[in-house]
């Protein structure tokens, strides 16, 4: 509920989100997406939603990143866009 921490986290979340869509290397996009998920988890923990933050930490920063890296491994890693 402390608005200073929330402001910093919101800025970092936006930066992570924009850069996950902008980089040309898909493996970096997957890792940046994992960082985005983790920043979201911190934001929800600050807002008091501890159950949701726990779920997002285990799902987003854990399983989702691994599934993305596995899918990038099986397809191409480089993209033009």
């Amino acid at each position: 509920m402390i608005w200073q921490i929330e402001l910093v986290l919101l800025v970092m979340v936006t930066v992570c989100g924009i850069s996950a869509l902008a980089v040309k290397d898909l493996l970096s996009a997957a890792i940046l997406f994992g960082a985005y998920s983790f920043m979201m988890c911190l934001l929800w923990a600050i807002m008091g939603a501890v159950d949701v933050a726990f779920t997002e930490a285990s799902v987003g920063a854990g399983v989702t990143t691994v599934l993305f890296v596995a899918a990038v491994f099986r397809t191409t890693r480089r993209t033009e866009n």
Partner: protein
């Protein structure tokens, strides 16, 4: 096409910003979202279900129907991943790589060649050329049992601390994925096979729906856990608490098996012989 997309996004953003003037101010105690039903849930959860974690009691008891269909959704996702990707015709790969463990020499066997039979001295490695790493294997072998104990702790303490069935199930599934990454996909499939994972998916949904149907045998509504007091021999309030625990175990089993199935099929693109 790109311009149309940007126009759509700007229009939608402006519309949402225009609607945001009607939203409640941040942190308002009198906001309409928190005034009607949720105050009933907060005030009555201890005397109805004796579970201190309000989110768990609402998720598994007051809104148990939603959670049952959420379990069905994740079960459907596992099934559809199998149906999309899994190929059952075993095509022999063009080259297989084998490593001699004591010297580190790698052999490359083309299709149709003679494969080394002695598995103590030769091990098969993936085409991605993974170096033999003793530190990673030993560390992961030490960590995995503790991760699993922590997952079981999270499931069992969902009543008193943040956690519950879904979170514990995901952590358990992540431990199996860690085993598959640090060792080998084939070793993980030998330990926890595809049939077992598929069976566990269905078992989790069956536990959840079966508990609801069991409550109907005692003349109560579907998923009304106070009817379980006839079997367990406790008062209805504690029976609701135990019913929540049984249902969370069902959710955890289903979610764990689906995470494992998703990883097995995505990492090997359906063939399940070579992974990450």
């Amino acid at each position: 096409m790109r311009g149309m997309g940007i126009i759509v996004i700007l229009f939608l953003g402006t519309l949402l910003i225009y609607c945001s003037f009607d939203f409640p101010i941040w942190g308002d105690p009198q906001s309409p979202a928190g005034s009607h039903v949720s105050s009933y849930y907060i005030e009555h959860t201890l005397e109805d279900t004796s579970v201190p974690n309000i989110v768990t009691s609402v998720l598994a008891d007051y809104r148990g129907y939603d959670t049952m269909f959420e379990t069905v959704v994740i079960f459907t996702a596992g099934i559809s991943c199998i149906l999309l990707l899994r190929t059952f015709k075993p095509i022999e790969p063009q080259t297989k790589l084998y490593r001699h463990i004591s010297t580190g020499i790698t052999l490359r066997i083309e299709r149709g060649g003679k494969v080394p039979e002695n598995t103590k001295e030769f091990e098969r490695i993936d085409a991605g050329w993974i170096p033999y790493d003793l530190i990673v294997k030993t560390t992961c072998r030490l960590i995995i049992p503790f991760v699993q104990i922590f997952a079981l702790y999270v499931i069992a303490h969902g009543h008193h601390s943040p956690g519950g069935g879904f979170q514990g199930g995901v952590i358990f599934g992540a431990s199996v994925i860690l085993f598959a990454i640090s060792f080998d996909l084939r070793t993980a499939i030998r330990r926890m096979g595809e049939r077992l994972a598929g069976f566990l998916c269905a078992l989790g949904v069956f536990i959840y729906a079966g508990t609801g149907a069991l409550c109907m045998f005692y003349d109560a509504n579907y998923l009304d856990y106070s009817a379980l007091s006839h079997i367990l021999g406790v008062d209805p309030v504690s029976a609701r608490s135990h019913g929540i625990l049984v249902v969370e175990i069902g959710v955890a089993i289903a979610v764990m098996a689906v995470m494992v199935v998703l990883y097995y099929n995505l990492a090997s693109a359906g063939k399940q012989d070579e992974g990450l």
